[in-house]
Amino acid sequence: MTERRYTKTHEWITVDGKTATVGITDFAQAQLGDVVFLDLPKPGRKVNRGEAFGVIESVKAASDLYAPVTGAVAAVNDRLSSNPELVNSDPYGEGWIMKVELSGEAPSDLMDEAEYKKAAEASSH
């Protein structure tokens, strides 16, 4: 499994072979506040890098989720339908959102942790 990589829109991915696991970052969950609902795609659906694939709602607001990679949805985290708060309590673990079967190479231009941290700090000021 690769190291975690990050998008400007506050998603993260890890890649294991041809499968990418996608979630939202700790910074994103903290900004959203308590998550109450996720509207996620069905397995098999094609997602394109940079396009909205779902919606996450907190008590404060609804936000689009953007696909960091292109491919077909292999699985979504079913536990989130009854326990959406896992996104808040464990965003990089039990709060993962979906797995995508990559249709090409994993993107090489995503941010590493240090770069993302800098970007997130800048966006919170």
Binding site: G33, D34, K60
Partner: protein, 347 residues
Amino acid sequence: MVDFGGWELPQQYTSIRDEHLAVRKVAGLFDISHMGRLDVAGEAAEQFLQHVLTNDVASVEPGHAQYNLMCLENGGVVDDLVIYRRAASDFLVVVNASNREKDVAWLRGHLPSGVTLTDRTLEVALIAFQGPRAAELLPKGSSATDAIPYFGFAPGQVAGVAALISRTGYTGEDGFELFVDAARIGEVWDAILQHGRGSGVLPAGLGARDATRLEAALRLYGNDMDETVNPYEAGLGWTVKLDKGDFVGREALVKVKEEGPKRRLVGLRLQPGSIPRHGASVASGGKQVGAVTSGTHSFFLGYPLALALVEGPSFPVGETLAVDVRGREAPAEVVKLPFYRGSARHN
């Protein structure tokens, strides 16, 4: 932190969910110092307030508070507020933060000679300790509160500091709003949290305040009503005492009451996952009939709920309307208000 009427306030201290549940099950402590606090005093203070407010100020005894509306001549709501009668000719008036300057200007425009209006907002701090266990969880050095009825108040002490202790709030729960000298509010805040921590008392932010007030169907000025909405439309006709004598807006309100309001505020219950947001359109039989004025997901009740201002005759409880949630129509059942009746002791 969010900007709220020019005041920087926390949406949450830790989690809206945890703070919301603490208020419903134990007690939560809110900093509501952003609310405007005005002194109105003088021999003609009662007549003045009677003239600019809709409720019957003359019926309020010293030591009691009253929920009230201030209206334009055309009946639109300038603000909702609470008056506290400290003595025959001495009132404290608590108004919304976002309306404070507008209210002061409006009141000054109607002020007769012999009545003084003083803005005390920055001198006196205000916190709200709200929840079913608030009374028993006041810290040592606090006055007994058993004799203070709902919407009553008395001078006393909290944690050894002088405070005006008022049994009022904006959550539907029993509890207090505490007026304390701004220089000493920190001591009172810390003492309440320290004493209550082991019992589950939490500091609570704007998110929990909005969720609890909405469950209790307490209106939020700027969302559920404004200068384009009259008291009958907002479901607050009970605060309008047409037979108390003339007052600003009376003529227009008499007409609204005779003809019946053109719109009404209704309560809606939605399915989990469909969270109604302020401004979302509401439809009945494919036709738009109004809009959501306030909406949230209730962690306490376990489903999303909303207040909506809808046209036409009132929709009966049980009727299904449709609310636009992210571009699709979500079914919403008309329910009786309030959504939840807390521990506040209505007499």
